[in-house]
């Protein structure tokens, strides 16, 4: 028998899509039945009380969580988010309900052996409810009490060889697409760069020293499966410099209808016969492709690698071999001055172990931002306040037309004194010799 009546939430058990309400109920029952005889370290009815509290929010149209204050593990400034409910008498099981962020393996592959151990720990010491995964990328464990935090951390680090993730004004848990592990478009090993950068910057991840949060995300190609250009302060997107490789026989295969365009992504509708002229050549945004009825050519110098033709004919067209990545800086959600995408800082960087070229860019940016950034100012805002030119200066990167969508439309250039022949110091008396008062 359910501890609390939840007539509103029950309506979210209908419909085909997986119901989180059914799942929480299943977990509530599991905890009561306790088939494995677990000595639960937080209240057995935590799931019932979460449903009860949530039902109350569904009635009131208002949240019943309070901000948590500072809780965490010794020596770390992030990884735990404190959370208390505002109805502790009614719902004591969730009176204290802190989130634990656990570092996920890059690309989010798991063995069941490892995943089961993680679940056993959370079953024993937490609510048994998780997010697979949080929006930043880490494993999010929803709800435990303060005395459990050090114990969870102990077991994670000693028995599972796993650390907490980041929260607060520090480096957040980095994330990458699955990259070369299963994607033919990947221009570099996203998982490996992700892992290397995560290990290199453990101190920045666990101990807040930044003006505000900082996120790394790694996409293997311009398709952007982890959305790095929109969601990370430091976005690395795979690219190449040489020619798209063409397998002419395979192109003919698409033209003749032997292969489905776009790997079959459009199979649910009759879009008519594949038309290479219309669907590939005419949609190429740079107009750099041509088709003479039997042969496809690409003027590679004019291609800007948007991926359309490759996505459309993956058997026939392949990314080039001179590979690396572009780096974009400063993406953030709209608050406060409006949303920002990452702006291109480094058009091409080689991405090879030990990734020194990438690390150098990050470290130069951090040195500057930690010096100049205001409290709670994302680096994208610092760049806007201090100028793109300033970012070029601190990273030692030369201005390049690739840095802009178009040149400025106003001539209000802030010339520096050293740029102007003879400097700014002049003698008014000398001037007056040429011009009367």
């Amino acid at each position: 028998m359910a501890k609390h009546k939840t007539p509103l939430l029950d309506q979210l058990e209908s419909g085909p899509w997986p119901s989180f309400v059914s799942d929480i109920k299943q977990e509530a029952e599991h905890r009561h039945a306790n088939p494995d005889g677990i000595e639960y370290q937080i209240p057995v009815d935590v799931c019932d009380d979460l449903l009860g509290l949530l039902e109350m929010s569904y009635e009131d149209g208002e949240t019943h969580w309070k901000h948590g204050g500072i809780v965490g593990v010794f020596g770390y400034g992030g990884g735990v988010i404190g959370r208390y409910c505002d109805q502790p008498q009614k719902f004591p099981g969730v009176a204290h309900f802190h989130t634990v962020r656990v570092a996920q393996p890059a690309g989010k592959y798991y063995s069941t052996e490892y995943l089961r151990k993680l679940m056993d720990l959370w079953d024993f010491r937490g609510s048994g409810l998780t997010n697979m995964h949080g929006a930043t990328g880490d494993l999010v464990w929803l709800g435990t009490t303060t005395p459990q935090l050090e114990e969870i951390f102990w077991t994670l680090t000693h028995d599972l060889n796993t650390d907490l993730g980041g929260s607060g004004s520090n480096l957040r848990t980095p994330a990458s697409c699955l990259g070369q592990s299963r994607c033919e478009y990947a221009c570099y090993d996203t998982q490996s760069l992700n892992y290397a950068m995560t290990l290199e910057y453990q101190d920045e991840l666990h101990r807040p020293a930044f003006p505000y949060k900082f996120k790394f995300k790694f996409d293997g190609c311009p398709n952007g499966c982890v959305a790095s250009i929109a969601r990370s302060d430091f976005s690395v997107i795979g690219t190449w410099k040489d020619d798209i490789k063409i397998d002419h026989d395979a192109v003919m295969g698409y033209v003749k209808g032997e292969f489905a365009p776009n790997a079959g992504a459009h199979s649910g509708r009759d879009w008519g016969k594949f038309d290479i002229e219309k669907e590939v050549v005419a949609l190429c945004p740079t107009g750099c492709m041509s088709w003479d009825g039997s042969k496809l050519s690409i003027d590679n110098k004019e291609c800007y690698r948007c991926m359309h033709c490759i996505n459309t004919m993956p058997r026939a067209l392949h990314i080039g071999d001179e590979r690396g990545a572009s780096i974009f800086v400063g993406a953030k959600a709209p608050i406060l001055d409006g949303a920002q995408m990452g702006s291109l800082l480094v058009p091409f960087v080689p991405v090879e172990d030990p990734y020194d070229e990438v690390k150098e860019v990050v470290e130069n940016l951090w040195d500057w931002w930690m010096e100049e950034g205001k409290n709670r100012e994302r680096i994208g805002e610092t760049i806007r306040r201090m100028s793109f030119q300033k970012m070029l200066e601190v990273t030692g990167i030369k201005a390049d037309p690739r840095h802009v969508q178009e040149p400025r439309t106003n001539p209000y250039i802030f010339w520096k004194e050293e740029d102007v022949t003879g400097g700014w110091e002049r003698d008014i008396n000398e001037f007056r010799k040429r011009h009367q008062r």
Binding site: S14, V44, G61, R182, A227, A333
Partner: protein, 381 residues
């Protein structure tokens, strides 16, 4: 419920402490076929909705079966995922950025069996546990945030609104009948933890009433300077108020400056802003991340306000349906929702989606606003 220690000694926190070890290394968890062919994949094919085949230079193939799920999952549910992975995919499984689950097997036969198995599993009340889909030109799973389940500033629930919208577009999740991929995201307040601002359709919780001020307790519970500093628009200033004949330190808020972000509440529990009538949803549309054909772009606000209607948010589901159907009917093959709206013009977008355009949709927030007004005679009737 006796407390059981794992080994941590609170008197000597540094004793035996291990820290700064990071995540487990990714390649410990590669299925063997992935380990053997990493970096040597040639091409892929979507065999049918929910099943991908990747072909390697070696000639080997890996079949990935992708299924959706709620982001909020229990340990019991994850153990069921493990059971399936043990039975079918050699004890390996992966999760995608959009909260889907992927099992990798080595033949089409096994993939089809697995798909049938996944589609057959249901929760006690009848919803699917592991619906297969989320590939190609369809609608995949929604990325979202915490909502009423676990945050202090939400203006709506995340899991509930997501469930309702995914129920609505369930057929599109398991099919390839959109002109191009359609990505939906959800964030429950304007902080946008989920960074929904570049999605084909974004659902965003929004408050519309400034914080209440709990004058009587504020000075005891909050650091006033921190609350003042927390406000991004400078709407809060320190002030004094009379309570029961006593003068107390508190704050005053310039309501017309408030943008309803809840940052002050994060700093000061005496400034709550949730409100049943005030809170609701904003719908944004036309953003994208990929560089394919057109540049990445931001989503635009197309519906200024939809009230919270828990538990099933019928107006939300209806509006999403209108946009999805108008797009599916009218857009060209490969055309993302934002590219379609730009080609036909936003005036036409509102007409085709049967959405009302109101003055709230004209930007008036800081510098970039001007660049969104129309400065040309090129508009349509």
């Amino acid at each position: 419920m006796a407390f059981i220690s794992a080994g941590y000694n609170p008197d000597k926190p540094m004793e035996g402490r291990i820290s700064d070890i990071g995540p487990r290394k990714f390649d410990e968890f590669y299925p063997p076929v992935i380990a053997r062919n990493k970096g040597k994949w040639l091409y892929h094919e979507i065999v049918e909705p929910g099943i991908l085949m990747h072909k390697a230079e070696s000639g080997e193939e890996v079949y990935t079966v992708r299924c959706g799920g709620a982001r909020l999952v229990s340990v019991t549910h994850v153990r069921e995922i493990c059971d399936i992975a043990d039975k079918f995919s050699g004890g390996f499984v992966r999760f995608t950025t959009r909260n889907n689950i992927e099992f990798m097997v080595e033949s089409k036969d096994e993939a089809l069996k697995l798909k049938a198995e996944l589609n057959s599993r249901k929760f006690a009340a009848g919803s699917h546990k592991f619906p297969v889909g989320g590939t190609g030109a369809g609608i995949t799973n929604i990325v979202h945030t915490q909502g009423w389940v676990h945050c202090h500033t939400p203006a709506t629930d995340a899991s509930g609104t997501v469930k309702v919208v995914m129920d609505e577009v369930f057929a599109e999740f398991g099919a390839h009948n959109m002109p191009a991929p359609l990505r939906i995201s959800m964030a429950c307040c304007l902080n946008m933890c989920g960074a929904v601002h570049c999605s084909d359709i974004a659902i965003l919780g929004y408050h519309r009433k400034p914080p209440l001020i709990d004058h009587e307790y504020l000075d005891n519970l909050c650091e006033i300077p921190l609350a003042v500093a927390a406000c991004p628009t400078g709407a809060i200033r320190p002030s004094k108020t009379e309570i029961n004949g006593k003068t107390v330190n508190s704050v005053a808020i310039k309501n017309e400056r408030c943008m309803f972000c809840g940052n002050c509440y994060t700093m000061c529990p005496s400034l709550p802003l949730s409100d049943k009538e005030g809170d609701g949803l904003v719908i944004m549309a036309g953003g994208k991340i990929s560089n394919r054909i057109s540049n990445p772009k931001f989503s635009k606000v197309v519906v200024a306000f939809i009230p919270n209607e828990p538990p099933r948010w019928p107006t939300l589901a209806k509006v999403v349906r209108q946009i999805v159907d108008a797009y599916a009917k009218d857009a060209r093959k490969y055309e993302r929702l934002g590219d379609w709206a730009e080609r036909i013009g936003w005036e036409r977008f509102f007409e085709k989606c049967d959405l009302e355009f109101t003055e709230h949709l004209i930007d008036d927030f800081r510098d970039p606003a001007y660049y969104t007004w129309r400065q040309t005679t090129n508009f349509k009737w």
